[in-house]
């Protein structure tokens, strides 16, 4: 948590900037093959850079392959935590990340999220940098010092 180890490496930085700019602009988190094509580099090099970013907790990889599950706060696959902003749709892996997408974009946005227990949808709205509508209660099951023991469950 003390530094971005990726920051000292040119390609890793380039990959980080591409992934996050694409996620913000399109709502889609690019995967290694797309990144390789965009940056005109071999997939193997991109794969190493992605792993380095994951080791630095900048990204989260899907289990058992080199694909990106989340470039936090942006989730690469649809989830229950949906964000609508600027006519685009984004997904977070949790309510913190869904609100984080609103913060990262710096745009007005609407978040819809299900109750973790009953599944009923709730709606939160960010306007002008403030949360102007909120529903429900946010619950953190895992103490802060153990968040990264299993970030998927956290």
């Amino acid at each position: 948590m003390t530094s971005e180890s990726a920051g000292t490496d040119g390609l890793t930085r380039e990959v980080r900037l591409y992934v996050f700019s694409q996620a913000a602009e399109s709502g889609q988190v690019p995967q290694p093959a797309q990144i390789a094509a965009a940056l005109d580099r071999p997939v193997s090099e991109i794969g190493r850079a992605v792993k380095e970013l994951a080791a630095g907790k900048v990204l989260i990889l899907a289990p058992n392959d080199g694909n990106i599950w989340a470039a936090n706060p942006f989730c690469a696959v649809p989830s229950g935590f949906r964000v609508e902003a600027g006519s685009k749709t984004y997904w977070g892996i949790c309510i913190w990340d869904a609100l984080g997408i609103c913060a990262a974009l710096g745009q007005d946005a609407v978040v819809t999220a299900p109750c973790g227990d009953c599944g009923e949808a709730m709606r939160l709205e960010v306007r002008g940098g403030n949360l102007v509508r909120g529903e429900g209660i946010v619950h953190f099951a895992i103490p802060a010092h153990r968040w990264w023991d299993n970030i998927g469950f956290t």
């Binding site: 630095g56 913190w96 999220a113 946010v138």
Partner: protein
Amino acid sequence: MLLFRSEEHIDRWSRARDLPRGATLTPDQCWRLAHGWYKDKIKPDWRRHTLEETEALLAEVDLTGRFWNLRDH
């Protein structure tokens, strides 16, 4: 981090998984936490927060005590 309709729903979810209850935040606290954590994430000069910066952010959002302690227990 999940969103629940009420305390009762948190209790039911926790009991069903045989988990102790964790900590709760208001949506506004979660927004302020998310804003502090992610507002720079897509900027080219983004860097990870230091431990001290993260502790300061948690304190700003009134998240204090053992549950929010980031150092070894």
